[in-house]
């Protein structure tokens, strides 16, 4: 009886969480008129291709998705390199100012990110970087959470392993690449997904830093589409569904690492 009630409650929670995605996938294949009829659409319609073609015409779907992919992958790889190097330094070396630097890096989490928007905007204007990939990628390369996560994970790395490599004459970069990175693979996988997810979904900063529609990322393009007086909801919902797809796939492949990474960040905090 108890087991039955608990399973039922969880199934309800599951349905509430996943149900909207199913509805979204179905609604994305209908046109505007059908979406707003009662009852909601739970079966595929025949407007998928129309909506796709519409999106290509209104926001340049291919170009916009490509922008998102380029920005998110560059930022993810850059963020990984920065986090791994810094995490290694914090976890495995003693040096002057270590604690102060670490606290300083983390303390920036307390200041709302909105505080930085205006100076960042002006800085990019001065650099002539507005409306470029660089403007989106550069500010997000130092990720306090990533450095924190890598430091936590690497502090458990045995010194003997590193010393053995040093005795063998390996340089530090080589040690990082050949010894540290392979051992840290699960945590690095988790961080990879986090960084990609954040960058892929980033909205406010690209909205400010980008001007021309052909530079837009997916979220920015979706928002402009949604702001029009005659919003075509078939198109917007299809864009939403498509933008969610890559992260879903990524998550399904790496969910074990993803959750363990979340746990590492949460429990050791």
């Amino acid at each position: 009886m108890k087991r039955w009630a608990l399973t039922f409650a969880l199934a309800a929670a599951f349905g509430l969480c996943v149900g909207p995605f199913y509805w979204l996938a179905m609604a994305a294949t209908h046109d505007d008129k059908d979406i707003f009829t009662w009852p909601p659409k739970f079966w595929p319609g025949d407007h998928l291709w129309d909506n796709l073609a519409g999106l290509e015409e209104s926001i340049g779907l291919t170009k916009v998705a490509l922008n998102s992919a380029v920005v998110a992958s560059t930022q993810t790889i850059g963020g990984l390199v920065v986090s791994v190097l810094a995490g290694y330094a914090f976890a495995k070396f003693h040096f002057r100012g270590k604690n102060i630097l670490f606290v300083l890096l983390l303390s920036s989490l307390v200041i709302p990110s909105q505080v930085r928007l205006i100076p960042l905007f002006e800085m990019m204007l001065d650099f002539g970087l507005l409306d470029s990939y660089a403007a989106l990628v550069l500010p997000g390369l130092t990720v306090p959470f990533g450095i924190f996560l890598m430091r936590q994970a690497m502090s458990g790395l045995p010194d003997e392993l590193l010393d053995a490599a040093r005795v063998d004459g390996a340089g530090e970069l080589r040690i990082i690449w050949r010894v540290v990175v392979p051992v840290m693979r699960p945590v690095i996988a988790a961080l990879t997904i986090f960084l990609f997810l954040w960058s892929w979904n980033e909205f406010v900063w690209p909205l400010i830093a980008l001007r021309s529609p052909e530079m837009h990322t997916l979220p920015v393009a979706m928002a402009t589409l949604n702001g029009l007086s005659e919003t075509d909801f078939g198109q917007v919902l299809l864009a939403s569904a498509l933008s969610t797809l890559p992260v879903m796939v990524l998550f399904l492949f790496f969910q074990r690492q993803f959750i363990s990474g979340l746990l590492a960040g949460a429990t050791k905090g």
């Binding site: 929670a13 509430l16 009662w38 100076p119 550069l138 406010v204």
Partner: protein, 303 residues
């Protein structure tokens, strides 16, 4: 291994350590260089600069002292935004965290089979980007064709104009927020639950403690650091609430859902009043820090 050791031994010069540009002393700083450069240029400098901007007005940056802050105190829209934000926080924080805790208890229960599947399902909403889920919810909350009103109709509840009335628009935003984040926090709690030693529960059961007592005497105290962490995270996120009202209601109807960050954004990028917007940002930062400290202190005292 010994072979390698032997080979490297004679290569090491006696006496003075080798002096090169990259030695043990400078190495950690070199490793930190990219992170620190990024931090200084794109975090520390903008944070410091916006403090200065908040003391100026106009595009010429005329110094006006605390005028912007004084103006804020008499700005009815700012107070509305602050009240809306506070209202959402007061409802949102306890609601979401208790739902998440309940959910994590269910996900952790041995009575339930296929826990991995349930866990996966409830976590998936937090993967959606804020625009994507904002757009999705603007249709789900639609009065005439929306999914939510359709669900409610089975319980005999009349259609609700979720985004059109001040009260329901706020509730609609809270519903959307909960859908998005509950699973995320539940998984964090789940991690904490799995870290609690099982012996504690076994001992309590031997002593005859019921489930409620075990929850109050073991689970809550053991989870306290994580509860504090999520409280602070949730406070920071809710105080900076922007995307949901921006996409769902655009602050309306009648400013009922305008938040502090939205007002900041409007001042900066609609009216280009950068000085005033920076002042809003700093008042918000101050609020976040003060609330965080209060929560940390409260959690510390109860220990």
């Amino acid at each position: 291994m010994t072979l390698l050791l032997d080979r490297s031994a004679p290569a090491r010069p006696q006496g003075k350590p080798r002096r090169t540009l990259i030695d043990r002393r400078t190495l950690p700083y070199l490793l930190l260089m990219p992170a620190l450069l990024g931090f200084l240029i794109f975090k520390a400098y903008p944070i410091a600069k916006s403090a200065w901007i908040s003391l100026t007005t106009g595009s010429a940056r005329t110094f006006v002292g605390l005028d912007n802050y004084a103006r804020l105190m008499h700005d009815p829209v700012f107070w509305t935004a602050l009240r809306n934000t506070a209202l959402i926080l007061v409802v949102q924080l306890p609601l979401m965290l208790s739902l998440a805790l309940l959910l994590s208890l269910g996900l952790n229960s041995r009575l339930v089979k296929a826990r991995a599947v349930w866990r996966l399902g409830v976590f998936v909403p937090s993967l959606t980007g804020l625009v994507a889920y904002g757009v999705m919810f603007s249709v789900i909350l639609n009065r005439d064709g929306g999914l939510l009103n359709w669900l409610l109709s089975f319980f005999g509840i009349d259609r609700i104009d979720w985004l059109g009335s001040p009260v329901w628009a706020r509730i609609g935003i809270v519903i959307a927020l909960n859908w998005h984040y509950v699973g995320y926090y539940a998984v964090i709690y789940l991690a904490g639950l799995q870290g609690i030693p099982k012996e504690l529960y076994e001992a309590a059961m031997v002593d005859g403690a019921g489930p409620v007592t075990r929850f109050r005497r073991i689970t809550v105290p053991q989870l306290r650091p994580i509860l504090l962490l999520t409280m602070v995270l949730c406070t920071i996120d809710t105080l900076q609430l922007f995307d949901e009202p921006y996409v769902l209601t655009n602050g309306g109807p009648d400013n009922a859902t305008i938040t502090v960050t939205m007002y900041l954004y409007e001042n900066a990028f609609k009216y280009f009043d950068f000085g005033y917007a920076s002042a809003i940002a700093y008042v918000l930062a101050l609020l976040v820090i003060v609330l965080g400290l209060i929560q940390a202190k409260l959690a510390g005292e109860r220990r």
